[in-house]
């Protein structure tokens, strides 16, 4: 990558180099080198950038109750049917594993650098600049090569194959939900977030830290939640040492009281 003159870059794109790197100033961008990208913001010297998504789903796997409502709502609003395999958010549970590892939630991260968009040979998987730059699949252009599904760095892949309509699809933050009377998208509502009875799905317009901890956050924010759900208020789904110690002490006290009964 050749040197970029700071002033020249700012003058051309309206985005200073500092702003480019930190993503502040309303135009968060992810830098991508090469690839068949469309609708990028061209910076000098072959650096092509994709606008960051205007929104991201955050989940709290320690709060989720595993009811799958999010998955069903995703399918209903996008396809008018109920299906688990068609859902663009996947909640997988194993009842025989200890909490909180008995549930995993796989939501699309709307990656600042989206490998699925990068991998698509036809532009079907693209950045939708009319809908808050959400990364989504234009089904009409999908040729079924499944490169986006292979390219997703996460498991299970967030891009998925729809064998009924025969195209790839992925979370579009409900930008295109023909079977829902609400306005979806980063500027509207998300069906999964609306139906979740635990409020275990949240939304942010800020790019999350690009790690598991950035997208799996603590939504257990009230005492009521903690008391009724017997869930810890620890950060990021964990219990603090203080909480663990307090719980152990309470259990010991209860056992002592019972023994004295």
């Amino acid at each position: 990558m050749a040197d970029i003159d700071k002033k020249e870059a700012t003058a051309q794109s309206g985005v200073s180099r500092r702003e480019f790197i930190t993503g502040v100033g309303g135009v968060g961008v992810g830098a991508v080198l090469g690839g068949a990208l469309l609708k990028g913001i061209l910076l000098p010297d072959e650096v092509v950038a994709i606008p960051a998504s205007g929104g991201y789903l955050l989940v709290d796997t320690a709060k989720c109750a595993g009811c799958n409502s999010c998955m069903l709502a995703c399918s209903v609003t996008h396809h008018g049917t109920v299906s688990l395999s068609n859902a663009r958010i996947q909640v997988v549970q194993d009842p025989f594993v200890g909490y909180p590892n008995d549930i995993t939630i796989a939501q699309c991260r709307q990656c600042p650098y989206p490998p699925c968009v990068d991998a698509c040979p036809t532009g079907a998987n693209h950045v939708d600049t009319e809908n808050g730059n959400v990364r989504t699949v234009d089904a009409a252009k999908c040729i079924g090569c499944e490169r986006c599904i292979q390219a997703c760095p996460f498991t299970p892949s967030r891009a998925l194959w729809n064998p009924i309509e025969k195209h790839a699809q992925k979370c579009d933050l409900c930008a295109d939900t023909p079977y829902w009377d609400e306005d979806g998208g980063p500027d509207g509502k998300r069906a999964c977030e609306e139906v979740c009875p635990m409020n275990a799905i949240s939304f942010t317009a800020e790019i999350p830290m690009q790690s598991d901890a950035g997208y799996n956050v603590n939504l257990r924010l009230t005492d009521a939640t903690a008391q009724l759900g017997r869930m810890g208020l620890g950060d990021n789904g964990e219990f603090t040492k203080a909480q663990l110690d307090a719980a152990a002490a309470a259990a010991a006290a209860a056992a002592a009281a019972a023994a004295n009964h």
Partner: protein, 694 residues
Amino acid sequence: MSNGYAGKILVIDLSSGEVSSLNTADYAEYGGGHGMGSAVFFDLCKDKTISAFDPANVITLMTGPIQGTLAPFGGGRCEVQAIGPQPWPIEWFTRSNFGGRFAGMIKFAGWDGIAVTGKAENPVWIDIRDDAVAIRDASATGDGLWGTGTYETEKKIYDLVRGGDSVDWTLYGTSRDTGRSAQNPAVVSCGQAGENLVRWASLIHEGGGGAGQGGFGAVFGSKNLKAISVIGTGEVAIADPQALMAARAWWSENYFDFDNYKPSLPGLHSYSPGGSGNIAGGLARGGVGQRPQGCMGCTKLCHGGRGATAEGPGSSCFDTWYQAQSGVKWGNPAASASNTDMLQSYGLNAWEGSMALPWLVKLYRTGILGPGKAIESNLPFDAVGSDAFNVAFLDCIVNGTDIGADLKEGCARAATKWGRYDEDVTSGDLAIAAHGYAHHYDARTESEWGFGTALGDRDINEHDITWVLYWHTSLAPLYGQPQALPAKEMVEMIGSTLLPYSDPMMLDFSDEGIYSDAMVKFVSWHRAYTRFWKQSAMYCDWGITDWLNPWAEGYKGLTPELEPRFYNAVTGDDTSFEKGIEIGTKIWNLDRAIWYLQGRTPANDQLAEWQFRIGSPAAHSTYEIPYIMPVFENGEWSYKNVWGRFLDHAKYDDFLDRYYAFEGWDANGCPTSDTLKKLGLDKAADELSAAGKI
């Protein structure tokens, strides 16, 4: 069919290995669930007089149109029916129901239900992956499931079906478009109790979901069937998706918000977030941190919860109450969750075990049962309440050793064999309510529970009146608060939902009221409502009726708007609430016809004798607090404590006579030919005629 239905019902004959299907559309008039199950059973089981363990018995697992959808309280329920080995003295064609992920998953696999008949030569399990149905070897030399507990079976099946890849999309089939799933299969299985034909063996799903009563675990065992596993990658159409989403939003506005929780009303246990399950479930598990857990699509999330130690997953309410009954009740407050895990893994009905213990302990302490006693037993009753006793107790039942050889036949049969039935059921030491089933809610006070139980096949387990006109109306004054509404307003509000009758007198639980014509009407209404809206459509008993809603204006519940609203959004029908009552009446009559083909007489409509003699709570019961119920006396409504009341034989028999007449049944309690034909049940009328019953 479309719109809420997959279109086909899977039929598996384990004797021949044949896999076939029925068209759901042929049973459309029943809506789904129980109604379809009864009708399918009627068609597939030619001889209704066979025993539960006869290979010709047909077991059905049915869904309704709202299963697998966003209908609150219902998306996850699966209705199980067959001739059950538990009911006594006749093995009634009976029902149970379990929640979780199974019902939705079989619909996504393309099936509205599963019917299994015949008997496999060797232990098998059924592996359903969309339309691919395989009968696989469950034996120790095969997939190694037979002989293991339900937890282990389920875990093993996850591995077998997912091929060890438990995280990624799994392709089912061989081409790009054959369907994929990232989900674990939904599994229902029997434990060793079912394998060993314990008459009160249950079916277990995900550790805590259970078709508990009826002995369906033993029906599986009698067929050499260990488990059914389903992966469904498909979809089911919704008639009006926008209306479904709008209905869901409407529900959210009229129910609790987990994060902004406004307290429920006293006594409405099932209305707390996580339901009663979370409260009781909390007792079951050690460690820090638990989550509530919900059946597919549900909003109430009362399905038991899961904790950090992975003990008692999904177990709640009575399964964990068993832990209390088997331990805490006998002075061991530290009774461990292992009691619940053992019960669930063996696949045993918590009710029967809970009823047995106080009875057996009394027999032991009065010198009738024990080493060298009239009833020989070496079980360590001195240590009752300890985990060690519980292990010995459950082991002897599952293995048929010691008194377990008799107890595995159920308490009624054991008591009969021991020559103790009459004495112990008259005294109430053995707290059977009817049909050999344990006392649950109380016939003497909350009569619709007892009378509906007696007139049917089992303990009804339908909590409509229970939460509102027992728990709430009784607990509020114990907290020093008035009931949410004065009695007159309460019965008028609830009465208005009792369509088509809408008669508040149906809720008069006074000494005269429980035998009145209005109560006849109420019992009839309740049978119909539960048969259709709860067990066929099908909504969960812990969600509907929604009669007294703590978060709605004037506490007015969502019944009768909720039931048709989601049902019709999914199906595209315009089935009114009242139409549902009509369909329920039809289903109730079909069931009654089947029971008469099984040999029913009016004697089977009786309640166990202690309920006519004593007023105190039974030795095992849920009669924990006084029954303060609405009564109409001296021309006005009030709440009255009816604790201590017991039933009168003459009045009860007279009630039955008037009930039979109201339902259009003959003096023997059998639906008449006219009644059946008016309901469109011509086949049932013909078969009853041919059997000389009418």
